[in-house]
Amino acid sequence: MELIIDHVSKQYQNKIAADNISLKLMKGIYGLLGENGAGKTTLMRMICGVLKPDSGTIAMDGLDVATEEYRSHLGYLPQNFGYYPEFTGMDFLLYMSVLKGMPKTQAKRRIQELLELVSLQDVSRKKIKTYSGGMKQRLGIAQALLNRPQLLVLDEPTAGLDPKERVRFRNMIDRLGDESIVLLSTHIVSDIEHIADVVLMMQGGKLIYQGEWDSEKDLEDFYLQNISTQNISDKKTS
């Protein structure tokens, strides 16, 4: 199983959001770090087929990003998105399971598992409009995991979660890395420093660092150092 991102670029008017990015991702957890506006979300949206790159290709095991088969292996949690406020949590997950093409009985079983996993089983029959921000985020995580995706893309997944939930979420992701490609973006270093097998760093649309990470090292120091070095280099170039 491998995801190949080949010379992908994306530009919005005057801003380059992704600059000639090439990556090859295998099973494992990839932590994507970068400041706000670094291009993390743009890259993730292109990987999920929601945004069209200006150039370059994205494919998983030979399946192009635009195909239905590619999307059938994908789980995606976007950074900011709305729910259907009048739906219950259960309705929403059932709806997403149909969109993902899951048979009904299998979907119901999986939904029960996930509701338990994200601690929403008691409120699954309540309308989403009554949920707190953290509950909505957990519901989002549950929908991303519904189809046991081979490629799991999580954009700022810990936003809105309390410290206890964050720890629980990290443990859950840790297990998923054994079976899938997990790409997790955040600007909070502590979210990934203990679970990421590989760290990716973006700045100004460029991939400025890519490498395996030894959890004994201090990622935050390394990250800040890299970012500031890049800033100096950018200034010199300009």
Binding site: Y12, C48, R71, L74, Y76, F81, V98, L99, N147
Partner: protein, 427 residues
């Protein structure tokens, strides 16, 4: 799971999304009540006085209905005309009505004009007719003759030959105003030859009312669909739910088809509800008589050799087709503009514009095309818009071409909407 099964499941969810909105229920409730209320409103807004006794519009309608039913089946010939005229002439012209309305039809525009007189003053254009026992039993025929000859004085003098000649003159005038070609006139002359003359009077009050109400019903339908379907696609963009949907396996074509089907189902159901709501109220009040009568009983200016029932079916079919078109246009705009407020603004603006603006017959092509718009087509006087469309040597009427055009536009917009929806965003 095959795609049809997926679409069916998604369709259920999409319908649920539409019906879970409070706005849907509120406007649906208001429009349904209004559609049923319109026939009652017609009667509650007018009152009469007979021999100093006030009677309501409803009581007057009951009297008219009874009189009309007694006359049903009578051939409108010299004998009936004489009976009617002598019944009215036996009664001197005295006005004991507070308010009495009569109306004529302008053949060129199809507009019905109401002449209301009161306080016993005779008007030179309109003569008040005393309503009492014998005379009143002929009032439905008098009203009908007045519709044809456009003059209530003449209605009390006309004989059979003159009556049908007046109708032919009216038709010729309409054809002249509508700038019909020789071939079109020949077409309608041929159609006219299939209509039995002299006419046989049949009471069809319920259907007559329905023909009049199709105009407000059409606007109510547009408003209802604009409010309820304008967010079918836009809400996914607005709340960014589209990211989740478009990245899922069946979030593109299958979901688009499910959304489209749910929207169409809603639109068509609304059309059913409004039409049947109004029709049942009309039938409840006026009765269902006259379904097999010639259309000329209700719309004497029409040259279409069809029964009232068939004309009602044509109208119903068009109403359903229009509801499909409104639904597709609304959903297309919802996907294209990605803002439900903008969609509603465009549709209500279009509705108001076409209510206030008209293109005269003298600009034949522009006027003919304009009158094919769904907001201008569903009006009873379109039954005597005799301008035809020549398609590969065959003449099609306004309703026939509208049907075809609406289907084609609907399919085109559905296809364009799909292209917009499944396209991977560049922004």
């Amino acid at each position: 799971m095959n795609q049809i099964h997926i679409i069916r499941l998604l369709y259920g969810f999409e319908l649920k999304k539409i019906f879970m909105r409070k706005t849907t229920w509120i406007i649906l409730g208001i429009m349904t009540v209004l559609s049923v209320w319109i026939p009652f409103a017609d009667l509650s807004s007018i009152g009469y006085s007979i021999d100093g006794k006030d009677i309501s519009g409803y009581e007057m309608m009951l009297m008219d209905r009874d009189a009309a039913r007694k006359l049903s089946g009578r051939v409108i010939d010299d004998q009936l005309l004489k009976e009617m005229q002598s019944a009215y002439h036996r009664n001197p012209k005295e006005d004991n009505s507070k308010e009495q309305a009569d109306y004529t039809v302008d053949f060129s525009t199809g507009m019905e004009s109401a002449f209301v007189s009161g306080d016993g003053e005779d008007s030179p254009e309109h003569e008040n007719i005393n309503i009492d026992g014998t005379a009143h039993s002929y009032s439905p025929v008098l009203s009908y003759i007045t519709k044809i000859v456009e003059n209530s004085n003449l209605a009390l003098e006309v004989d059979e030959t003159q009556l049908y000649q007046e109708r032919r003159n009216g038709l010729s005038q309409t054809w002249n105003d509508q700038l019909l070609t020789e071939d079109e006139i020949a077409y309608w002359t041929d159609q006219e030859a299939q209509i039995t003359v002299p006419f046989t009077y049949e009471y069809a009050g319920g259907w007559d009312a329905l023909f009049e109400h199709i105009f407000p019903l059409n606007f109510m339908l547009l408003l209802l669909i604009a409010v309820c379907l304008s967010n079918v696609f836009s809400t996914e963009h607005l709340h960014r739910t589209n990211q989740l949907i478009l990245s899922s396996r069946y979030g593109k074509t299958p979901l688009y088809l499910a959304k489209l089907s749910a929207g169409l189902t809603f639109g068509i159901s609304c059309a059913f509800l409004l039409f049947l709501g109004n029709a049942s109220a009309c039938i409840r009040l006026y009765g269902a008589d006259g379904l097999h009568a010639a259309l000329q009983n209700v719309l004497p200016a029409s040259s279409r050799p069809v029964s009232v029932g068939r004309a009602v079916l044509i109208l119903f079919g068009l109403f359903l087709t229009v509801s499909m078109l409104y639904s597709i246009v609304t959903m297309f705009l919802s996907e294209w503009l990605k803002r439900s407020a903008a969609v509603m603004a465009i549709l209500t603006g279009f509705m108001l514009l076409t209510m206030m603006f008209d293109i005269p017959y003298s600009y034949r092509i522009a006027s003919q095309a304009y009158d094919l718009l769904p907001t201008t087509l569903l009006v009873e006087w379109q039954f005597w818009d005799d301008r035809l469309f020549s398609v590969f040597g065959t003449y099609l009427t306004n309703f026939q071409i509208a049907w075809t055009a609406y289907f084609m536009i609907g399919i085109l917009l559905a296809w364009m909407g799909k292209r917009l929806y499944v396209r991977i965003s560049r922004q």
